[in-house]
Symmetry: C2
Subunit: 90 residues, 2 copies
DNA sequence: GATAGATGTGACCGTACGCTTACAACTGTA
DNA sequence: TACAGTTGTAAGCGTACGGTCACATCTATC
């Protein structure tokens, strides 16, 4: 599942939790976070701490991957230039 | 790049930044975070806010993916059971 | 040697985290 | 109709976030 925004991340985690038929309380207990935190995070809380997010992801049997962003599969060489261009502008 | 811990995430982001020959200050400016924050995050700060982390990842031309965790490629069906087992143990 | 850039670290401060407790709304189920 | 479970919020609190300055260290390049 490709994640572009915090809402994507929140929705993916909620979807996975429901796929496993888990309550927020069950997930929270396994990930050692509060149930309230799970509720707010699933609503898209962008200020959540990355450490807790990782614990929840792990508790759901998911893994994070970081890949190079590619909109169009056949222009990988140009993408890096477009990224650097953004830095070089002044 | 598979991410299992915060240190993995930090190292991957630092590696990507260096691959692009960017300074912490350049990355910070593009991602709208402080240079000091980049320094501390690259050291593995687990309390960093997910919103800032996502901004930095995007600024580096990277994308997050969430996939099902699979240790052994040929036992995908059993993995889900092992996950649920952890929840069902009282 | 001197200067500039990159990086790590510390102090200070306004703000908000995450946890706990509590309550309300909703859904099934006995 | 009760009862239990799930979920969303809100208040209160201890703590630490992230930004800003400031300083020290370490390279390069002049």
């Amino acid at each position: 599942m490709k994640i572009n925004t915090i809402r994507d991340l929140a929705a993916t985690i909620r979807g996975r939790r429901l796929d496993l038929s888990l309550s927020q309380a069950e997930l929270a207990r396994t990930a050692s976070v509060s149930r309230e935190w799970v509720s707010e995070f699933e609503s898209g809380k962008s200020t959540a701490e990355i450490g807790l997010v990782i614990r929840v992801i792990e508790a759901l049997g998911l893994r994070i991957e970081l890949t190079e962003y590619e909109d169009v599969p056949d222009s990988s060489a140009l993408d890096l230039d477009s990224i650097l261009q953004e830095y070089r502008e002044k």
